[in-house]
Amino acid sequence: MKIQVFAVLKDYFDREFDLNDDITDIASLREHLSRLNTSAQGVLQLCRFAVHDEFVDQTYNITKNDTICIFPPSSGG
């Protein structure tokens, strides 16, 4: 799977990277990333996730070719 992170998450991860681990849903992805960089754990708890330009919830089943976007809380204006 491919991961794209936005905004403050770029301080903790590359803008875009591949994960080949055996991660099957969003909840596990979040845990995995929290372990990869423990400083990001707090903000990851607040993030929303999207696949194919649609929000997905924690139970979404990730497939190998998915690109998963991770969005911190937004603040426009």
Partner: protein, 153 residues
């Protein structure tokens, strides 16, 4: 592209929800007239020279282009359902925006002014809270801060 109203007679105005170049607030306003609209309300969110006591050099806005644009369209549609608007448009900057420049503009028009004010505030509140647009503040001391609090809440 935004069609500027939902279920009411409409002045068609084509505007991209996101813009990587400076917003032309004056041009947007000059388009926002409608013979049935007695009230036009415009909101311009501009970059202040300071925030939380620190001097701001510029802001940088990042967006998920497709989803942010779609969310802005949805917010405008919702406003058009809630109020009888003749015009409802919104445009948000992406990229580097310097002090005094406009980061976001919302224009609403309706027969009576109460609806135009209410809808305008509704649209900007939802854009600020929901749209996938992130602000990073760059200060003159060289530090930066990803938004959490927006510059004009």
């Amino acid at each position: 592209m935004i069609r500027s109203a939902y279920s009411h007679p409409v002045a068609e105005v084509e505007i991209t929800e996101l813009s990587a170049v400076p917003l032309n607030v004056v041009e947007l306003l000059s388009k926002a007239h409608h013979p049935k609209a007695g009230a036009v309300v415009l909101f311009s969110g501009e970059v202040r020279n300071n925030n939380n006591g620190k001097e701001v050099a510029y802001l940088d806005y990042e967006a998920h282009q497709i989803m942010a644009a779609k969310m802005i369209r949805t917010i405008l549609d919702d406003a058009n359902k809630k109020w009888p608007l003749n015009i409802a448009i919104a445009q948000h900057r992406t990229g580097k925006v310097t002090v005094g420049e406009t980061a976001v503009v919302v224009i609403t028009a309706s027969a009576h002014r109460s609806e135009a004010y209410q809808a305008n505030q509704y649209i900007i509140d939802r854009i600020k809270h929901e749209a996938l647009i992130w602000k990073c503040e760059y200060f003159t001391d060289g530090s930066h801060q990803w938004g959490g609090n927006c510059s004009c809440h």
